[in-house]
Structure formats: C-alpha cells, structure tokens
Subunit: 279 residues, 2 copies
C-alpha cells in the first residue's frame, strides 16, 4: 500500500496529523547531532520543542540512546537548552532492567561504560543471558568473543539488544550502531535477539500508555526511517521523517517503509503540526 506523502516547507499543513493529541520525539539526529565533543543542538530545535510543549499537545521523548544513563543524557540535553524532564524520556535500558528483574536473569553486559550505572544492583554472576547496547569502542574483537562465549555456552542462548539501529551520525561521520553487532552475534550463535527499544511495539506502547493516548492520536518524529517511522507506523501511529541526523535521500525511495511526511527539520515539522492541528 502506498500512502499519500507530503513533503513541504515550514509553515505548510500536514493533513495526516490534523487530529493528533500527542507527539513523540526521537532525540539524536532530531533535537541534536551527537559527537565526540558532546554534540550540539540542531538549529531551531530548542525553540521547536518549546512551541510544541506550549501548544498543549502531549510531548514525550523516545530514544534508543544507550551511551549514557537516562539522567546524564537529559542533563546533556538541558545544557544544550532543551527543557526536558527525565520522566518524559523513554530509553531502552530502564525497560530492559524491568524485564531482567521480572525474569530473574543474570546478564553479561556488553554496554557503554557510561550506561553501567543503569544496571546497578543486578546480579551479573554466572550470566545466563547477554545484553548489548551501543558499546561503541567497547565493540572490540576481544569483547565480542567474550559475549559470544557466554552465549554459546548456554543451553539456550539468550541475547537482548538495546535497539536494532544500523548506524548513526556523529559530528565526525557515520558510526555503526548496536543492531550491527546484534546481527553479528545472532549469526554466530544461530539465535534471534530480543530487541528492547525502538522499533519494538512493546516500547512504543509503554510511551503511549504514559501519554494516555491511542496510537492513532500520536505522531512520531524521527530521523530513522525504519526504527522511528516504521516502528511507530506498525503500532498504528503516524510517522514523520526529518531530513536531519542520519537521514539520507534514498530513504524517500525505501522499499518497504514510507513516512506520512518528510520535513526538512524538527522546526518545520512542528510548524506544520501546529498549523494542521490549529494550535
């Protein structure tokens, strides 16, 4: 099925979002560009978030960020000028910790050093599952071998992946994301990972529940066509792709995912939503 697609300049209307009551924002590549230097806000995005919040629409943030605890991550965004509260931010690690506790699992962790505090208090002795996040430089041959040996030594290898992204953009170039290493370990062990985070439907539903909205009442804005837009659409939400962050022109000709709208940046997307919803 081919949806009618809009691609318009700032101030245009987006008919598909006329009746939305809530907006879910991806963060990296939409609010800011990340980088070795900590990254910087994308032009116009601080004010755009403010306009959205002031409009009365329900706003939540949904990220697959796993290089920081949620608290540290929000602090970083606040320093860039964003007015965001921790309780409005949904990230994979806290969601996974709930799962690990419920299922009484002891993880071997291959995650970024700065994410480790999220797992404080969990039993990691004699691991019976492996957790991978965006470990960046920690994705060494040695660490991947170590995670592999834990998995292959289990009677039923159990792998959790914090997201399934292919790559993201930092100020010094494109970088491989956690999904790539998930695929690597899946192949090595002949298993399928359980993905926690976007595009998992369970993850989007947690956000919608918090907003007290039905899927059709919410729109997701992201730079990742498959994980943000496609994931949200699979849940019955609308999905808008912005042409910032990891966006590539070829996304607009993708074989299976078609956004409900393509906008130049968050500022333009917010303007279009506010105009269309008469806010």
């Amino acid at each position: 099925m081919r949806r009618s697609v809009v691609s318009m300049a700032a101030g245009s209307r987006l008919e598909c979002v006329r009746s939305v009551r809530g907006v879910v924002l991806d963060m990296c590549g939409v609010l800011y560009d990340s980088g070795e230097d900590g990254g910087h806000a994308i032009a116009g995005s601080v004010a755009a978030v403010q306009r959205l919040t002031d409009s009365g629409l329900i706003v939540r943030f949904c990220t697959n960020e796993t290089q920081n605890t949620r608290e540290k991550f929000v602090q970083k965004l606040r320093r860039m000028g964003f007015d965001i509260s921790v309780s409005h931010v949904f990230s994979p690690a806290p969601a996974l910790v709930r799962i690990l506790r419920e299922r009484q699992l002891r993880p071997h962790l291959l995650v970024h050093d700065d994410l480790m505090p999220e797992f404080d208090g969990l039993d990691t002795s004699s691991p019976n599952c492996v957790v991978i996040g965006d470990a960046a430089d920690k994705f060494s041959y040695q660490n991947l071998n170590e995670a592999f040996r834990v998995l292959i030594g289990l009677e039923q290898p159990l792998l959790f992946s914090l997201g399934r992204g292919r790559f993201y953009k930092e100020t010094d170039g494109l970088k491989l994301d956690v999904g790539v290493f998930m695929k690597a370990l899946e192949y090595a062990c002949e298993v399928q990972a359980e993905v926690v985070g976007k595009p998992s439907a369970a993850f989007f539903h947690t956000v919608l529940t918090d907003m007290s909205l039905q899927p059709h009442e919410a729109v997701m804005i992201g730079d990742d066509l498959v994980n943000d837009v496609g994931g949200a659409q699979s849940c019955g939400m609308k999905g808008i792709q912005v042409r910032t962050g990891k966006y590539r022109p070829s996304d607009e000709k993708h074989a299976s995912v078609r956004a409900d709208g393509y906008m130049d940046d968050l500022s333009a997307a917010v303007d279009a939503i506010l105009t269309s919803s008469h806010r």
Copy 2:
C-alpha cells in the same frame, strides 16, 4: 531428506566412499588446532595424511585460512610435520585476487596483517569495494566503521568475504570468524556479500577441476558441518565430519545439514576410507 549416517570406530568401513578417487581435506581443526602459540598437529593426523597420499588417492587441501599467505601457512604446516606442497592448497585470498583483477576492482582491505602480501600489486586507491578476511584483533570498532563508510559511500556497495564461517577453535577458546563480521556489514549496508572460499560452489569446483574429478568421485573431510560438509554436499561431493576442532555434539542433530559420516578424527576417517575403497 534424511541420509543413512555412519559413525564408526577406526578401521570401520564407510560405504559412501567406496568408489571415491580423491579426498579434499580441510586443514584447521582437522590437521591441526590453531592457537596463539602457532598451534599443534592433531594426534595421528600427520601419519594419516601420509597414508592417504601413499594410497594413490588424489589429495588436495582446502582451507578458509586468511590469517597468513598460502606460502607462510604451508610452511607452518610443514614445521608440524605435514608433507604438503603449496600447489595442492586452495585458499580464498588467491581466488579473490583473480576476481579483483578480472573485474578491475580496487579493494579496501580489512584483513589480517599477515595476509596483506597476497594483495601486493593491486590498486587500493579510491576503493570501489571492501574485502574482509579473518582479521581477528583488527576487527575493532574503528576498523569496522572505516569499512562501513567505504561501503555506504558507494553507489552500489560491494562486499567480498573470505569465507562465511561463524567461529573457530583456538587453543585458548572459541573465536569469532569472518562470517560474523560479514553479517554485521551486510546488515549495516543492506547488501549481500560475495563469499569467496568455502562453502561457495565455485571454490569447490576449482579444486575438483585441479583434481580432474567429478564431484561424486571426491569426499571432503572437515570439522565445520555447514561450510565443509554442507558446502561439499551441495556440489555433489560426499562430506565427512570429524569430531575434532570446532565440532560440537549438537552438529549431529543439525536442522539442515547431515554428514555422510561422522568420524572421531582424521586418522579414523582415513582408515575407514582406505578400508572401504580397498586401498
């Protein structure tokens, strides 16, 4: 289809190989176990190769080894006591170099330092394809990012993988093989790699041509059920798995590949072949 399978002690017969005229031997995990220390011959395998050669059967060696040039690799095996000539050893790098020259490709190489001399004389400026081998410790996040950026920057990403193995066994434990990183880059770039080496049919046919044999006249002996046994069977050869190297008991219950015979080690396999073929 479930084949009748034999699993016997040394000296037993292997009906399936009664009329074979040639034997193709995998090397790592069959002739020797590799390791940081250079590895060591598997008990009985030096003498087994000699018995095979003396029997009049045509013998070739077929390896996905890409941590060394073929010359250095054969030197290592000779030091372990094996009587092997370089011209009887088939490995992926020389086969790939022929392909690169024929198709006038300029590779970005993510391969083991010790394999680099195989690519001497090739133009590697402005690469228009990526080649990965078993780069071991060179599979760092940084090097994988670099290979990824070359691929994603090409209009049609072209990835060659020297084998598609999942893992292998060294004296200090199991290690991830090139196939795992092939899968990683395939996912990152949404491409399918061209595999050079086992289990590629083209690779087995090169060996058979050199032996002047039809597929049904040859048997492959390997420790890798999928790449050695399954690859050879796909070409019409017989395939025997030995219970050394990376062999795991679960291989004998594999969902899709079933060896024509399982033998404890090369020595037992050779005895069975010689007995069955009345040599």
